[in-house]
């Protein structure tokens, strides 16, 4: 068995740098949100440029140590998104992935030699996949989860911090081959194992400083003396790890979120935040060959409530500009009830459709190009004003709605169709009201409508009665006529039975 561990140490710091990569070279500390009982804020992580500042210090100590220190509050939304991105980076390399904790992911990497290469190549690919989603990760390889985790921890000593266009880079890896495992474990110092303080002190008092020294002792008496954890430690020293990798399915949604430093009460600051979130989402989609099929926007308001809304995507897309426009349209048309304190975007992914372009014949747009164009058009005219036309299952004349535009693939051999000319109706939406003068028999004689929609009736046909949808709040009951007006205009007019009012529904053009 071969297990890899992808670990993102300092997750709050890396999550902050993912949003602001330019701060990688600055003295930056990420501070916990809120204060402890003593009213102090504590540092969760700091960049190397913040010399002398480390996790656990109070903010006051950190500022005293590094006067030029910049600070950012930790953001649960960013860390959530960073943890999900870590999972996706692992899933980009292997389909069998287990997330043990935020920023700690195990993968089954057995069988990837033919796809990627040897263990070092796979480790390198994993580090690169993490960097592509803005994460600086330490990667370790071993024959079990525990060994892989220890290898990742050992690799973290070689981490650097570099600014990349996606976030933080500078990952490192360590591959522990099966034959090197015993030697590797034996040399591990106990202080690198995150042991409980009491156990660590007890082992130190016994003069044990490395895992190898612990492994040389019989596990039974050790556990009896120091507790079951010491027994596990002894087994670990021999490379024994009974825990199996339990892979979980991919999340159904990709999420990115951000807390705002102050409540946003207009669209402009939200546009700035959305742009950054959409860019990160687009990057994550692009890395996996995915597109957004659905997208939800969640706004946490100043009063603590959530404003949740779904974007109507005419076609799958990952184009940030079109999605930004749709977000803007959504919020401008229905502004939230209070200032916005946090933003979360959640997208349901779908596979990017790749199609072989034909060798002969005109070059059509690829499905991705088509979806992108539809998304752009949707952002321009509104999602409800674009799509495949269809007549809804109703009796209302000339009703039409837009559905999803998903054309089938082009036929192998295009057969030019014959052109059949016919008289078509140009629907008037909404129908134009008109005044119609009739004779005693009810036959229309004169139409008085807006603009050119009027004149003396020179020929007519009808009425054709339609009574339908009487079970709804808007029943339909009308008599329809086809009228030819002086001057040649042909119209479809209808008289509502309930009110006697006339309306012009279409022009034959």
């Amino acid at each position: 068995m071969k297990i890899a561990c992808l670990w993102v140490p300092d997750l709050p710091l890396v999550a902050a740098l993912r949003a602001e990569p330019q701060l990688c070279s600055q003295p930056l500390a990420v501070v916990q949100a809120g204060r402890d009982l003593g009213g102090r804020a504590h540092v969760l992580g700091a960049t190397p440029a913040a010399d002398g500042v480390g996790a656990g210090q109070t903010l006051a100590e950190a500022r005293a140590t590094c006067p030029r220190l910049l600070t950012r509050e930790s953001s649960p939304e960013r860390e959530r998104a960073a943890a999900q991105a870590a999972r996706e980076a692992a899933a980009a390399v292997s389909p069998r992935v287990e997330e043990a904790a935020p920023g700690l992911v195990y993968l089954d990497v057995a069988g990837l030699e033919s796809l990627i290469g040897d263990d070092r190549a796979v480790a390198r690919a994993l580090v690169a996949a993490a960097e592509h989603v803005g994460l600086r990760a330490a990667v370790g390889f071993g024959s079990s989860k525990a060994v892989a985790r220890l290898a990742a921890r050992a690799a973290s000593a070689d981490l650097t911090l570099e600014e990349t266009r996606w976030g933080a880079g500078g990952g490192a890896f360590l591959v522990v081959a099966a034959e090197e495992q015993r030697e590797f474990l034996a040399a591990l110092p106990l202080h690198a194992l995150e042991l409980p303080d009491e156990l660590f002190e007890s082992l130190r008092r016994f003069g044990l400083h490395t895992l190898g020294e612990v492994g040389a002792l019989p596990p039974g008496p050790l556990a009896a003396r120091l507790g079951p954890e010491a027994g596990l430690l002894a087994r670990l020293a021999r490379g024994e790890d009974a825990s199996a990798l339990v892979s979980r399915e991919e999340p159904e949604r990709f999420e990115e979120g951000e807390e705002l430093e102050w409540d946003a009460s207009s669209v402009e600051p939200l546009l700035f935040v959305w742009k950054a979130l959409l860019d990160r989402l687009a990057q994550r989609f692009s890395a996996r060959g995915l597109m957004a099929r659905e997208m939800d926007l969640q706004l946490r308001l100043a009063d603590g409530s959530w404003d949740e809304r779904a974007l109507d995507l005419a076609a799958p897309t990952r184009e940030a500009a079109a999605l930004l426009q749709l977000l803007r349209l959504s919020v401008e048309s229905r502004p939230p009830m209070a200032g916005v304190r946090a933003v979360r975007l959640s997208a349901v992914p779908t596979r990017e459709v790749l199609e072989q372009m034909p060798l002969f014949g005109p070059r059509a747009a690829s499905p991705t190009q088509l979806a992108t164009a539809v998304a752009r058009l949707s952002a321009m005219v509104g999602p409800d004003r674009i799509g495949r036309p269809h007549a809804p299952d109703r009796w209302a004349p000339f009703a039409a709605e837009c559905g999803k535009f998903a054309p089938p693939p082009p036929p192998r051999i295009a057969v030019p169709g014959e052109i059949e000319l016919s008289l078509a109706a140009r629907a008037l939406r909404p129908p134009r009201t008109a005044e119609v003068r009739c004779d005693d028999a009810g036959t229309p004689l004169l139409v008085i409508g807006e603009g050119a929609l009027g004149g003396r009736v020179v020929a007519s046909a009808g009425p054709w009665r339609t009574v339908a949808e009487w079970w709804t709040d808007a029943p339909l009951a009308l008599d329809a006529y086809d009228l030819e007006l002086a001057g040649g205009l042909l119209i479809r007019a209808a008289r509502e039975l309930a009110t006697g009012t006339w309306r012009i529904e279409a022009v034959y053009d």
Binding site: A365, Q369, L377, I386, S422, L423, R426
Partner: protein, 180 residues
């Protein structure tokens, strides 16, 4: 316009209908609606921009319906104009009318822009201009008969202008009404 959309969609081409007047009748009548993208911009300026985006997306036929009934000519001259803007190599001055830009897009991406309007719009940028004039309606049955119905309409069409051939004489066209 519907005939052109029907012919293109049945041949397997994706088409776009830019309909700022929101007047498209969604009954199929020969059009493969699965291949038709119906776009309803809010004004003519937006309509031109959406036509440009559709041409860039390599829709084989982009039909731009500017024949809004609100700008119908006086009853004495019921007419329609169809112009075909195709890929004609021509040097355009930058920043020329939107039709210049649309013609460039159509040429570059191998599409056809079909413009339906009440008066000529694209001027010299059009590869062909077809004028249509409405004739008399044709009715079936006697006036007042319960079974009387509109059978269709006579029209006259002519190629008023074409870059590669001389104008044609007027041709009678019979337009039967599509069965509802």
């Amino acid at each position: 316009m519907r005939a052109a959309l029907a012919s293109a969609t049945r041949a397997g081409e994706n088409c776009a209908l830019i309909d700022p007047g929101d007047s498209f009748d969604a009954s199929p009548h020969g059009i493969d609606l699965d291949r038709l993208l119906w776009v309803r911009p809010r004004d003519p300026v937006q309509a031109l921009r959406t036509a440009e985006v559709a041409l860039e997306a390599r829709f084989a036929l982009v039909a731009l319906d500017l024949g809004d009934v609100s700008v119908l000519p006086p009853p004495k001259q019921p007419r329609g104009i169809i112009q075909v803007v195709r890929f004609e190599k021509k040097s355009f001055s930058p920043g020329a009318s939107p039709w210049a830009r649309l013609a460039r897009r159509a040429e570059k991406h191998g599409g056809v822009l079909l413009v339906l309007a009440r008066a000529p719009q694209a001027g010299t940028f059009a590869a062909a201009t077809i004028e249509l004039e409405r004739g008399r309606a044709q009715w079936e049955g006697s006036p007042g008969d319960p079974g009387r119905f509109l059978r269709g309409m006579q029209a006259v069409g002519a190629v008023a202008r074409h870059k590669r051939m001389p104008p044609s004489p007027p041709l009678p066209i019979h337009l039967p009404l599509e069965p509802g």
